[in-house]
């Protein structure tokens, strides 16, 4: 197991480097001179040139890239073009917020999805099954930002049960987490259902019945444990969509997380902020995937032998 983790860590190094390279290159493509933007209106040519030297913008590309990586590993993601504050500081403030949102959302995805999927699978083709599956299908088709707006309208505006936006209390988390988690829940529900249906047709379930085990024991102890294995992978992938989705949901609910930071920075062309935000989000995702892989191995020890 330890060896496996080590091996995977080695494997993701090129991926991480690749991500930094892509981020770096894309940012190079942004038109406009960062020095000009930073210097502000009416700055003199000398000031701009000085800034260019300071920022190292006159050096060849690969040198810039190497120093960029060097900085990244030291935790220096550059400074915001808007206010010259370190990007890292801003990210450190916002990252916990986004992570909190992501955590609650993935909880909703997993819990809601599993429950719905199991209800469906236990009585296939029944009314509850079909209605759950229809709702799930609608769930994956809804634009998250639209769902967010609708929920906001119903619960905050009309019913006034929940606050409209912001991030101050527990109540603030509810609507954004539901909005972000709903799509994933639908996918997990569908996946759980199909996995359970496949497992229930297996020989070992027939053996369990032949032993006289009670119905709920067969489902929860024998079937579910096997059915959940592929669902783990799905949840891992869903986390990625979730992280991407924070961009939209944070904008709808005016939450100061990384997603919103990236979007706002794109609008103001604050390249280091965009770079930093995308980089950090991607790295989080890469490590979460590694975690999911390890968990998958724990549940599915058979792979060890291959």
């Amino acid at each position: 197991m330890f060896l496996f983790i080590l091996k995977r860590l080695v494997q993701i190094v090129p991926v991480i480097l690749g991500v930094t390279l892509v981020v770096f290159l894309i940012m190079q493509m942004v038109p406009g001179d960062p020095a000009v933007i930073m210097a502000g209106e009416g700055a003199s040519k000398e000031t701009i040139n000085e800034l260019r030297e300071d920022l190292g913008l006159n050096r060849p590309l690969h040198e810039q890239y190497l120093s960029y990586i060097g900085n990244v590993f030291q935790g220096d993601l550059g400074n915001s073009l808007k206010n010259n504050q370190p990007v890292m500081d801003e990210i450190m403030v916002r990252l916990p917020i986004t992570m909190e949102l992501a955590f609650f959302s993935i909880m909703i995805t997993i819990v809601l999805g599993l429950i719905a999927g199991i209800i469906s699978a236990v009585r296939p083709y029944s009314f509850s099954d079909i209605s759950v599956m229809v709702v799930a299908l609608i769930g994956i088709s809804l634009p998250s930002f639209w769902l967010g707006l609708l929920l906001m309208y119903v619960f905050s505006v009309k019913l006034q049960w929940l606050p409209v936006a912001g991030w101050d209390s527990t109540a603030h988390i509810i609507l954004p987490a539901i909005t972000l988690g709903a799509g994933g829940a639908a996918i997990v529900a569908r996946m759980t259902r199909s996995s359970m249906l496949e497992v229930v047709g297996q020989d070992y379930i027939r053996t369990a019945k032949a032993k006289g085990l009670k119905g709920h024991v067969i489902i929860y102890k024998h079937a579910l444990r096997n059915a959940l294995i592929p669902v783990i992978t799905v949840v891992g992938l869903q986390f990625g969509s979730l992280l991407g989705g924070t961009v939209l949901v944070e904008s709808v609910f005016a939450i100061n997380g990384i997603g919103r930071m990236i979007v706002d920075s794109i609008r103001t062309r604050d390249i280091p902020m965009v770079q930093g935000g995308v980089l950090v989000a991607s790295l989080v995702f890469v490590f979460v995937n590694l975690l999911v892989d390890v968990m998958y191995r724990v549940f599915n020890k058979r792979i060890d032998l291959n």
């Binding site: 940012m27 299908l137 088709s141 930002f145 639209w146 991407g244 939209l248 965009v274 991607s282």
Partner: protein, 300 residues
């Protein structure tokens, strides 16, 4: 001029092959036709496509015409979906917006599919270091969560609907590439490929005339499902102000302006979102149905 028996033989062979191909298409379409989800989804998609063509005929007003005195009206007989904050008829804007959403959807997926399929075929067929390099690149692309890759690209290219198309297209590439790579590697192992190679076919022919037709079903299924996601992503990016710019009647952009008026005129946001949701539902249904119809393991 006499026709010799060899020529008759080859003509017969060609005719037989054509007949076989026609029958394959017939069974393909009939199995789709039997699947309810695929049919419903297909109908929805066709309805939307017809909207793109019929928009000029069906729209009661000019989607760009500003009439400030009529602004923010609730749905009524004069304006079935109400008017927005600049007095424009929402229904007309929705009808014209269908062109944008479908256009972006199809173009971005076509773009992604093209490059994805080519990369996947090459990686799957040649294997070894070619595969390793391509797979690593795909891994990097997939390491970006959700639409962040598209966001990064837009930040470089600037906000516009065309750039959204490119960005969503690029972010579709790895999905097609993965699937095609997997299928190609499976088909490559079949003995019939070896047989053709011994007959002297070169790589190009093998890939395009023999492997590709065999892996079409997962590509088509994935294409439909991907269209669903692409339309959602494109609308999302426009919603964030990074895609279609006002006064464009693109649905995501309409939602964005609708958001400011959620308290007073919720219908401004409800209708565009509804249109997106139903279209995406159509593609999801179609893709699901297609997958069930074409998958030999299907138990239904």
């Amino acid at each position: 001029m006499t026709i010799n028996s060899a020529e008759v033989e080859s003509v017969n062979l060609i005719l037989a092959r054509k007949k076989l191909r026609r029958e394959k298409w017939k069974t393909f379409f009939s199995s789709i036709g039997k699947n309810k989800a695929a049919v419903v989804g297909g109908v929805i998609i066709l309805l939307y496509i017809s909207l793109t063509f019929l928009a000029p005929i069906l729209a009661p007003y000019d989607p760009y015409e500003i009439n400030l005195q009529d602004k923010l009206q609730s749905p009524s007989l004069a304006h079935w979906m109400g008017t927005d904050d600049k007095g424009r008829d929402i229904l007309s804007r929705i009808l014209y917006g269908s062109r944008l959403s479908l256009g972006v959807g199809f173009s971005s997926v076509a773009f992604g599919a093209f490059f994805g399929i080519v990369l996947g075929l090459i990686a799957g067929y040649y294997g070894k270091w070619v595969d390793t390099i391509i797979s690593r690149c795909l891994d990097v692309m997939l390491a970006f969560p959700g639409i962040l890759l598209a966001l990064a690209i837009i930040s470089a290219l600037g906000p516009s609907l065309i750039n959204v198309t490119i960005a969503v297209g690029v972010f579709s590439i790895p999905l097609f590439a993965r699937i095609v790579r997997g299928s190609t590697m499976e088909v490559k192992k079949l003995e019939y490929i070896d047989a053709i190679r011994t007959l002297g076919a070169n790589d190009f022919i093998i890939i395009f005339r023999h492997i590709l037709p065999n892996i079409l079903s997962p590509i088509i299924v994935q294409g439909s499902l991907r269209l669903a996601t692409a339309i959602l992503s494109a609308a999302g990016l426009s919603f964030l102000g990074l895609g279609a710019q006002p006064p464009s009647p693109e649905w995501g952009a309409m939602l964005s302006s609708g958001r400011d008026f959620i308290f007073s005129a919720p219908y401004m946001a409800i209708f565009p979102g509804l249109m997106i949701a139903i279209l995406v539902l159509g593609f999801n249904l179609f893709g699901d149905g297609l997958r069930d119809a074409l998958d030999p393991r299907s138990k239904k």
